[in-house]
Symmetry: C2
Subunit: 526 residues, 2 copies
């Protein structure tokens, strides 16, 4: 059997593997042909050494070649777009169009280009100059970054092309990508293009490396290794917390994006004003991509009453009529079924769906559950468990005070939304509930479902624990996402000729924003 090689130190090498695995076509459940290695520690050890060497070289090269690499990589991805989209489709079941070709692929290339721009310009590093005290500082690369990408965005969050990758590289760090095991082939194609782009632009070969899978123990050892600067992880909470514990013990930063139910509060005025529209909007957001979004609206809070009963019926009808999409893997199908069963066991009632769909392939009925706020408050922990996939839980409360009570029982979430009417009849309730919801979520929305995550400088794709590992950082949005991978470096009385370009008197690009003596400016100093 041919086993795909791993990419270490610029070369495709046979892995010293402890075993192999295959991806599946989730639409049929069939095993795909390529075998991928499960790396032993020796692979990781070599990758770490190569990454350290690359990190040292990158520090001397500065931002321009890094930006050129990111742009070249974006173009190469576009050049190989059809193949990438076909492979991702085969490995994830996501439709080629519009999802992969028209949404994810352009987003991926766009993110890389935005990251290139940020790297070149340098403002992301918050360069700060105090001329009076002779002190200057900025963020600087903190060393090799491990990226563990999620299953649900094979392109835009891919370990070797997605948001964490782009941010880590743009901040000046090499990346060791651990492929998501549901789409190793897609990740391999990215690695091939990245390697070519490194050669095209003269970057060290160890800047981008790829392993496909390791034992859990070796994964934990990797994120805690002294040679690692930081880790970016997006995936399941249980696996993420194991990595977090290992990284924390070693004092290594780890940025996690874990589970989130993304509560939505629909106030009565909004329901009176536009129930049909809300039912459409919620159904589309909840079932899009078979509900496999980090920001999928997994919990909707409503106030008891006739309008709510009518709205529930509208959603039930829509969930019943919508085709049930394909899930990413047998694992996702299993855990969705278990999560729905868990919610039902905790007191939720099935209004629509709630059962696996017989194969071939991995599908689950579009599922709508309902529970009273009283019942929710009796088991708040069990009833806020994420059901990753095409399922959502409606929580019906007696009154706004009870909505507030339910909100107060929530863990940290990525997002939270409040829908209110346009005439102002909900304003008092909004004012009552917003202060409760606000500190619990990274992104607060009005009248909008959370599934769109714009790559905006103002975006926060983050939130309080356990949605993420630290409430101060975002995984999406440039330049802020780069800051996760920077170490603060200060220069005190350092002679002018020895300062990094970003902190020299002359503005390095003529358009780099720097905080000079308390004033943000693109001007030279002095």
């Amino acid at each position: 059997m041919n086993v795909c090689p791993v990419l270490i130190a610029g070369a495709w090498r046979a892995s010293e593997a402890s075993g192999t695995f295959h991806a599946e076509d989730p639409t049929t459940g069939e095993r795909l042909a390529d075998a991928y290695p499960i790396s032993r520690w020796s692979d990781l050890d070599q990758a770490l050494d190569a990454a350290v060497a690359a990190a040292e070289q990158l520090r001397t090269l500065g931002p321009e070649p890094i930006a050129a690499f990111l742009e070249r990589f974006a173009s190469r991805i576009e050049g190989r777009g059809a193949e990438l989209v076909a492979m991702a489709n085969r490995e994830t079941g996501y439709p080629q169009k519009p999802r992969l070709a028209d949404v994810e692929l352009p987003r991926t290339a766009g993110q890389l280009r935005q990251a290139a721009q940020a790297a070149r310009e340098g403002s992301w590093a918050l360069p700060t100059i105090d001329t009076k005290n002779g002190i200057r500082s900025c963020l600087a690369p903190l060393g090799p970054v491990c990226v563990f990408g999620p299953n649900n965005f094979p392109l835009a969050f891919n370990s070797l092309a997605g948001g964490d990758f782009a941010a880590a590289i743009a901040a000046g760090n090499p990346v060791i990508g651990k492929a998501n095991t549901s789409h190793p082939g897609t990740t391999r194609l990215f690695a091939e293009e990245a390697l070519a782009a490194l050669a095209d632009t003269g970057l060290p070969a160890g800047t981008v490396q790829l392993i496909y899978r390791t034992s859990h123990d070796d994964g934990a050892r990797l994120v805690a290794d002294p040679r690692i600067g930081a880790t970016g992880y997006t995936g399941s909470r249980s696996a993420g917390l194991v990595l977090k514990a290992a990284a924390d013990r070693a004092g290594k930063p780890i940025y996690l994006e874990l589970s989130s139910v993304n509560p939505i509060v629909v106030l009565p005025g909004a329901l009176a004003e536009r129930a049909e529209k809300l039912a459409d909007e919620f159904t589309a957001s909840c079932l899009m991509g078979t509900g496999q979004f980090c920001t999928n609206p997994g919990l909707v809070m409503l106030l008891a009453g006739e309008a709510t009963e009518r709205f529930v019926q509208m959603v039930v009808e829509r969930f019943g009529k919508a085709p049930a999409g394909v899930l990413l893997s047998s694992g996702v199908a299993r855990s969705l079924a278990a999560a729905v069963d868990g919610l039902v066991a905790a007191g939720a009632e099935r209004l629509a769906g709630g059962k696996p769909i017989a194969g071939p392939g991995y599908r689950y009925e579009n599922t709508l559950l309902r529970v009273s706020a009283d019942a929710f408050l009796a088991q708040p922990h069990a009833l806020q468990a994420e059901a990753f996939g095409n399922a959502s839980l409606l929580v019906v409360a007696r009154d706004a005070a009870q909505v507030a009570q339910v909100l107060r029982s929530f863990e940290g979430n990525l997002t939270g939304a409040i829908y209110s009417d346009t005439a102002g009849s909900d304003d008092a309730l909004y004012t009552q509930l917003e202060p409760v919801l606000r500190p619990l979520v990274g992104r607060l929305l009005n009248d909008k479902m959370p599934t769109g995550v714009a790559v905006s400088p103002a975006m926060n794709h983050g939130g309080p624990y356990p949605a993420t590992g630290h409430p101060g950082f975002t995984a999406v949005g440039i330049p802020a996402a780069l800051r996760r991978f920077g170490a603060l470096q200060c220069y005190d009385n350092v002679r002018p000729a020895r300062l990094p370009r970003l902190l020299a008197d002359r503005n390095p690009t003529g358009k780099t924003w720097r905080l000079v003596d308390g004033r943000w400016t693109c001007e030279d100093v002095g």
Copy 2:
């Protein structure tokens, strides 16, 4: 026996204590009269509830009253300055003048005023506006902050008046201060003035609370409590890492400032040019405050040769002539003696001092140790252990390559300095060594000892683990120090009237810096 009460929810209450302790006068070793309680969990539990209530109120009050409180507190501290200085002198042995009255007290008041200014202005929160996507974000208070202050700055880093306190409050959070047990009386005076300043300015009484001491278990429980937003800790590595483990497990941010030896590299040209001056400078920096600075120069690297031997003699003479200062406590005296013994056991030679001085009071001889780089590299871990106090280790290397080897064996440090000559003869060595030292330290200095830590926007009083717990943050410097205590909060499609003032179209102060559509500006939006 009268036991001092704790400050909880705006009232001085008798602690539900498990025991009591006393501070000592370190110049005599005598126990001071006041008894302070060791709080049980019930004290902490009540403080946490009061802090949560205060945090909710502070969110609605906005920055102006918070800034007014900080300024009022600064003035009250100055008004009670003589008493504070006398108490701190009694509890720490630091001289009233110049140290306490002329350096620490003005720094404390100045920091509070700078923090007030930053709170009022709001730029610290990095307000970011994307008008095209309708998304806005900024850092916002993340909830009650626990501050564990160190022994070595009874005023400027006091749990209830120092850098972490000022930063946490200015970011909009209440503080629960855990007094350093070596200066409870000083902390009590600060608490009295803080409570009065809260009343003067209408802030919630739970904004500032004080407990003196707890069991280690309760300390760990405190930093991991769901009601806590984050913790700031400055102190010993062993105690800090216990708190870190507890906070990490609970997903709570904790900002630690732990040990650091602050390596200094003296290049041969500098030595040839100004050996006497360097010997003066190093001796003053190393013995200042009896060496009890986080940034004390604990390790000096030199290249073998006659000039170095002469320099070593100069320093030995100076260490011998300088009076040995008082140490902060019996604990500091014990651990300094143990650390010096440990360095000697690992192969260091005593050039000066190296023994405790008989009482009364806690003193240790000014101590200079020496080791070859060969010997250092045989036991790099043992030989880079911090000896907190008036001691330093000279490491003499064969050549620059060996200096680099020693540097590569270092853990993360707060600072590192390189001395070179002014004529340029050291430039090649600088270029060789700087890239090795740079990533290992938070602040790099040229021709300057690290003991001065200016409160500058460009300062980094931080560094890679284990100097601190996260390489991206600083404990000194406003506004950056505030960011540790902020959670990133994003507003997506939120109606204009519902935005926080900091993110509204109108610039909240007319001089708040905001990143609007990629451009830093103080202008209104639109």
